[in-house]
């Protein structure tokens, strides 16, 4: 087998005139077991370089670095003006039910107002039935009631009313 090409490549390799592709050819050649005696001394160089290329970090190294980086990351993402301080506050049952108390109180107030309004309205209606209220009814309004009655009846009614009122108040 002719190894001239390899020998030429090797000579250029020592002179640093080979390209990366040519050096890869040499590496592939020296990986095989069947190497001529004249080139054998150089084989170990390429084998050793292959072994160097297989040196790796431990499996947990990347995780360790990522943990360290992740720990630092929040510090850089903090808002301007320093960290935001959050205070924890204990919530008791009274605190939790406070909205219900407020709603119940509001309803009670509304009901009281409504009740009071209703009460005053009904009192006004009843007052008209008492003698004191009746006394205060203006005479003109009583005259209005008689509108639509025949004139004779109206005149008679008008003369009777003051008498009736006097008798009623006595």
């Amino acid at each position: 087998m002719d190894y001239k090409y390899i020998e030429q490549l090797l000579e250029r390799y020592w002179e640093c005139q080979t390209t990366l592709e040519e050096e890869a050819i040499l590496r592939t050649f020296f990986r095989q077991e069947d190497v001529p005696a004249s080139l054998l001394p150089y084989r170990q160089l390429f084998i050793e370089e292959d072994k160097m290329a297989n040196e790796h970090l431990g499996k947990d190294f990347q995780d360790k670095i990522l943990r360290m980086v992740d720990e630092e990351e929040p510090a850089s993402s903090l808002p301007e003006g320093g960290p935001v301080v959050c205070k924890a506050r204990r919530m008791t049952v009274i605190h939790r039910l406070r909205p219900f108390y407020r709603a119940a109180g509001l309803i009670a107030i509304m009901l009281s107002i409504g009740n009071a309004a209703h009460q005053s309205f009904t009192d006004e209606e009843d007052a008209a039935k008492t003698p004191q209220m009746a006394e205060t009814i203006p005479f003109d309004s009583l005259q209005d009631i008689s509108i639509g009655q025949p004139e004779e009846q109206s005149a008679a009614l008008a003369t009777q009313i003051p008498d009736t009122l006097d008798a009623f108040t006595r």
Partner: protein, 163 residues
């Protein structure tokens, strides 16, 4: 958004950074620390990612500088990589011949005894398959200088293996 980019672009660089750091520190635990520091440094610079043209070269540069700093601080030299060599030999497939082990050890010793810059360039070119331009960017030197250093490194290994 930034987190996704870190996961998909920066984090996968970890193994490459580790190999680079390992070639400089010659110590696995230290290399792992260097990679961790590098990745966190890149994460801190996330607001500048868009201005950085080549994020991988940026990370590689940080990694190399950190690894060199640690090596200087500890006062270690390349010879201590023998510890790694011994570990590697004991874990190799038992079917490999003793001769192959010796040869492998010789190649490793030759590579490990190279000056740091030559070692790094050889790793980036021969192991990581980086172009001269990318290597120049990582090391902050010209492409010509990269070729000069690489030539010296390969020649030393070649002569060492032949002898």
């Amino acid at each position: 958004m930034e987190n996704i980019s870190f996961r998909t672009i920066v984090l996968p660089l970890g193994d490459r950074l580790y190999r680079l750091a390992l070639r400089i520190t010659m110590n696995r635990a230290e290399a792992e620390d260097v990679v961790q520091d590098t990745l966190l440094k890149v994460w801190e610079c996330r607001s500048e990612w868009e201005q950085i043209g080549n994020l991988e070269a940026f990370a590689m540069t940080i990694c190399r500088n950190r690894a060199i700093d640690i090596t200087k601080r500890v006062g270690r030299n390349a010879a201590s990589l023998d510890v790694v060599d011994n570990r590697r030999q004991t874990t190799d497939n038992g079917q490999q011949s003793l001769e192959a082990h010796e040869q492998l050890s010789l190649v490793r010793r030759l590579m490990d005894n190279l000056p740091e810059v030559q070692r790094t360039i050889m790793l980036l070119r021969d192991v990581e398959g980086r172009s001269y331009q990318e290597i120049a960017q990582v090391l902050g030197i010209s492409e010509i200088q990269v070729k000069v250093y690489l030539h010296r490194a390969r020649t030393k290994v070649k002569n060492g293996v032949k002898d």
